[in-house]
């Protein structure tokens, strides 16, 4: 039996590390998905295609109006019923984080692209670039500094939101901690650990986002 909190954390470190790994894996996959889809969203909303713009606005409204946790339940309980396929909880969380994150990343990307002078796009097209080439070689590189801080901010929100995975039965860091509490009753120690774990995952990103924003705003 562990005598102190630190001793207990040391003894259960392998289990906690497994859980932490799972949580970080969920976050990383969610972030990757959110980034790719978010860029597509941001580009899609600045192309000036009316039907696309309208559909993406509906997409944004849906993800903004319905809380992420509700989406998680909709995917976890709803998908098996509608599609007849059972989606593992892990994949559910990654999908929901990715699709929700895409709407948030996408809004940042759209804002950054919209803030560019119209002349940049015209010039890119005038030198013979195609519309998507203009994004790849001119518009996105120009908007990069304006969108990076905001996008990193969304990443920290994705990491924080990944904690909801435990509520649909994913054995993540929170679940592992709860299992250890069931055996040892050391709830203060383990919940403090969770606090520190998430703080260490998010705080460096928050600082980075703020630094970049300050450096690039001049």
């Amino acid at each position: 039996m562990a005598t102190s909190g630190f001793e207990l954390l040391w003894q259960t470190a392998p289990q906690l590390a497994t859980g932490a790994g799972r949580t970080l894996a969920i976050s990383a996959c969610g972030i990757a998905l959110a980034t790719v889809l978010g860029l597509a969203y941001g580009i899609g909303r600045t192309l000036g295609i009316a039907w696309l713009d309208r559909s993406l606005r509906v997409y944004l409204a849906a993800w903004r109006a319905i809380p992420v946790l509700v989406w998680l339940y909709l995917f976890f309980f709803g998908l098996p019923m509608f599609l007849g396929l059972s989606v593992p909880a892990f994949a559910c969380v990654v999908c929901v984080l990715g699709l929700w994150g895409a709407s948030e990343v996408g809004e940042v990307v759209r804002g950054a692209l919209r803030s560019l002078p119209a002349g940049q796009r015209d010039a890119a097209l005038a030198i013979g670039l195609g519309r998507l080439q203009a994004y790849a070689w001119v518009l996105l590189p120009l908007a990069r500094k304006r969108m990076t801080p905001g996008v990193i901010n969304v990443y920290t929100r994705i990491i924080k939101t990944s904690s909801l995975a435990v509520l649909i039965g994913v054995v993540d860091v929170t679940k592992i901690a709860q299992q250890i509490i069931e055996r040892t009753y050391a709830s203060v120690t383990l919940y403090s650990f969770l606090f520190v774990f998430f703080f260490l995952a998010c705080y460096p990103l928050s600082v980075l986002s703020r630094r970049l924003e300050q450096r690039w705003s001049h």
Partner: protein, 221 residues
Amino acid sequence: MTFDLAFMLSTLPAFGRAVLTTFKVGLLAIGLSLLVALMANVLLSFKRRALDMLVRAYVELARNTPLLIQLFFIYFALPSVGVQVSGFTSAIVAMTFLGGAYLTEVLRAGIEAVPVQQLEAGRAIGLSGGQLLRYVILPQAGLLSLPAVFANVIFLLKETTVVSAVAVPELLYTTKNYIALYYKTYEMLAVLTGLCLVLFLPLSLVLGLLERRLQRGHLGF
């Protein structure tokens, strides 16, 4: 797959109560968060290093940890050191802890955005510190931070779904309860989604409107 409409209708009173609980938790937490934010900004206004660092530490801790963990800490960990709290109280405290930090930042940004000439002009016509705050800083800072405050209000209202994890009978908890009792998953998810759309969609549309309105500049400077 059949759709049991009669069953859905029979759950409506319970969902009515759930909506009320959602708003009760949400609005109480928002009110208290605003209070926390105001106090934090009063502390910041003293321009003392120690106070600044205290507020900073609170804001960073609250903003860089998930609401669920804050909630679990209050609900599951505090009882073991002798502080027994109900699910409802934990929900309010956790959401105030989180919301207070967000609104502190929002308010601070609003106050900083008030042009310094406004302060100088206020001082020049002989306003005291309190009068300056009351008649010059807060009205402008309030207006400037209005969209961000409103965005956080919506954010916190939506976050109330997380407190279902500590058995507060709000929207999501009620849904889960009915699913567990009657296996009417399909119907209950439909009710839940419908209610979310009815409650939150108009709010986010109003937010969009508010943002555009203020961007066009009705501020007089």
